[in-house]
Chain length 478, copies 2
């Protein structure tokens, strides 16, 4: 990467090859580096800083609902993983096993956590005794490992970063409420902060989490019309509690099982940001999550007063925004291209003519719109541009999603859409897994969710023609 100019060479157009465009953006916007560790990547500063902002904002929202952070061990002994039958079946095929410690073979192999339900259950079984100990509202930020065969930066890798919340409650009702509360928290976060609109709904039995009574999901649509599962929240009922013996004495001194939930969001949301908002100039970051919100670029920086004026602008803006002055010795045009590649929301240009006229030029990353503003209104105008951009990005993504959401009333329509019009398909379903299996086999599409907002599209299942029970969102997914 010695020669920074490499970064700004043209990237593949997304219309030509979306997958290559994605790879170009993650590397040329300097988000990740490839490593010698197969299936794992290096998060570079520009990539990790987005995750830090996601963490900060989610963590604040979690804590407002009473959640506390903890940290559980990285390893799960095999006997612990096996305690809940469905759970071990779901995860055993994709875990990494530690079998040796130092120079010795371990008496029992341990996996590197693929998720930590079993560890939290083991902990809760020791830590919870009475109704006074409930609810437990714990979360941890960590990395997890799943032995994927095919990997793609942010979207699917052998190690990824996430948070996993694990709660324990006295009643089934309270656990259900927490499950939905966290799903709504994720949805609000996606829409308000990441400017990504989501469909809220429930996963089918086939698609639910290994060991859950019910899995809820938010589903978003990428620019190429593929779906991305963006956050999930699981209601466990008392299944894990029974497997792990997590009981409390209630107010009547009677032993009861607890009811549990878990919920997670991962670094794949960085992939979602890229694929929902990016364009052929590179990354476009929503202002609310951008590590650098404003870049100041001096024009004709060698002329008297320009460097000083640019630095003064930087200082003023730094009081309200996250700002960077690009005072490198590259040409302005190159700096523009680099700032665009990196997705910085607002660019401020200031040159000799601007200084003379007491003005600066603002440019919006998403639309390319340029406006000249008086220097004494600078902060307010930048603020206005950031806010408008944040709002417009959500609306644009919503419009794209809605325009790529189709209705299929029979299997022929379904096949036609899924093969020619990438996007979500809304279609009725009988509730039978056989139809999901058939759709997956025929079209490599899956049920994304049974949305909370149901519509009555027809009386019959789109696949088998028997009476329909639910409307389902279908699609091809990452």
């Amino acid at each position: 990467m010695a020669d920074n100019k490499k970064m700004v060479r043209e990237i593949t157009a997304m219309e030509d090859d979306f997958a290559q465009w994605y790879t170009d953006v993650v590397t040329k916007a300097d988000l990740i580096g490839y490593t010698s560790v197969k299936g794992c990547m290096a998060y570079k500063p520009a990539g990790y800083a987005i995750w830090e902002n996601i963490q900060k904002e989610l963590d604040r929202r979690f804590k407002e609902t009473g959640v506390q952070n903890v940290y559980m061990p990285i390893f799960i002994p095999e006997s612990l993983l096996e305690k809940e039958k469905d759970h071990v079946e779901g995860f055993a095929p994709e875990v990494a096993w530690v079998t040796e410690g130092g120079y010795n073979k371990l008496p029992e192999r341990m996996c590197v956590r693929p998720t930590s339900e079993t560890l939290f259950c083991d902990f809760y079984a020791k830590d919870i005794e009475s109704y006074r100990d409930l609810p437990k509202l714990y979360n941890q930020w960590c990395s997890v490992v799943r032995w994927e065969k095919e990997t793609r930066p942010f979207l699917r890798s052998r190690e990824f970063l996430w948070q996993e919340g694990h709660t324990a409650h006295a009643t089934a009702e309270e656990a259900r409420e927490r499950t939905i509360m966290m799903l709504n928290l994720y949805a609000d976060f996606c829409e308000q902060v990441l400017a990504i609109p989501v469909i809220r709904g429930q996963k089918t039995e086939k698609e639910k989490f290994a060991g859950a009574v019910a899995t809820y999901t938010i589903e978003s649509l990428m620019h190429d019309g593929k779906a991305l599962q963006s956050g999930t929240s699981h209601d466990f009922g008392d299944g894990f509690a029974r497997a792990f013996g997590i009981q409390y004495t209630d107010k009547n001194n009677k032993l009861q099982y607890v009811y549990q939930t878990s919920w997670g969001m991962t670094t794949r949301m960085i992939g979602a940001i890229i694929m929902v908002h990016g364009d052929n100039k590179g990354l476009v970051l929503p202002p609310a999550i951008a590590p650098i919100q404003v870049v100041v670029i001096p024009i004709a920086a060698h002329k008297p007063g320009v460097s000083e004026a640019a630095e003064a602008v930087r200082q003023r803006l730094a009081a309200r925004f996250s700002v960077k002055l690009d005072d490198s010795d590259n040409k302005p045009g190159w700096k523009f291209a680099e700032a665009e590649m990196r997705g910085i929301p607002v660019r401020v240009e200031i040159g000799p003519k601007d200084i003379e006229a007491g003005q600066a030029v603002l440019a919006r990353r998403d639309t390319g719109e340029k406006v000249t503003v008086a220097l004494d209104e600078l902060e307010d105008k930048v603020d206005e541009m950031l806010k408008t951009m944040q709002k417009d990005m959500l609306e644009r993504a919503r419009k794209h999603r809605d325009e790529h959401t189709y209705v299929a009333k029979n299997y022929e329509e379904f096949g036609d859409i899924i093969q020619h019009k990438p996007g979500f398909i809304k279609a009725m379903w009988c509730g039978d897994q056989a139809c999901e299996d058939k759709i997956k086999e025929d079209f490599a599409a899956t049920s994304r969710c049974i949305p909370f907002e149901q519509e009555h599209l027809s009386d019959v299942c789109v696949c088998c023609g028997r009476p329909a029970k639910k409307m389902v969102y279908w699609g091809k997914a990452y």
Copy 2:
């Protein structure tokens, strides 16, 4: 832990059994929980919150010096670990090996990182090309695994949390400067934030990091007179660069090796806080790091107006401090004991008489001192008490350390002190590792560091009597 009252039962006196006192504090102050994963512990909310505050404060200080956060893979392929000869020899005996992924044996085993020099080197070898890419000032927050046989909460466990900084520079001089800069940053952090005084110095050849040219350390003294290595900063010269082929083209277009550093601080600092400041009532947290700085406890809460007054006090204090109102239905005496066990720096009591007189009672955790203050001065008086306590805690720890630092001029004195007076021993050293080995064998004591502030205590080595080269701090250590 159902019955919270268990938490406040008496703990072992530190004079009777320091190790048991320590274990009592970590469990009864609710910092950790034991797990079914041998050698690993669960960080409970009260314990993890201290780490979050350490992270926040260190991270801010790192970033002020230009450091950027990144994240490297959790695994190190064996061939990568082996690239630097000293390094692999140092770490191979204590790593956990992953040998299976999913249902398959891996073609090459990988260890879970015990530290990430090799991963950063592998990354830098790909990422650095020109002098324009330097310096690289990267840091990551993560967990690492070392297969320890004997473990103790926070002090030594198979998995611990830490940050590891890894930098690459164009010159040896710049790398040396960064090494010392980070050591000083750690020292300032320990003294200003954790109220723990430290000795700054260099490790001997025997004690230095595997692969380093020089290791610098800060050493602190626990209440029982044992030393704790509290942070280290390593100067690698170009050793790793040569092993991994990390080169850049300089301004004259000539290929040069980079010079590197690494530096780390870990969750063992939570153990240091406990062992430097704790007392027979439990934990004592320095105000600058306490997750809860002030606890408000209503007296006779059932009487009219008391609950409301306590809540009003909480709200006022919340604007400036991290504060908790204990409105549980336990008795005030029990609440006092619990707040003391948890180390909350300042307690505010308010009861009917106080309300009538427009006052509140403040109590300091470290000294037990109580003062009555007018309600309209509440915030300022609390602030004053927190600041005084922070300052006094550092001074008290420094006094304890100084009173437990001895001078030994010959081997007999050395033996007498090390066996009867726990603490640091300052003594002259010839520079020969044989003397370090002998002292370790005879007394289970190690050289802690060659302090930057040298004193001339005598002309001869305390062990062999040959001419002395340096004054060294010696001690038994955790």
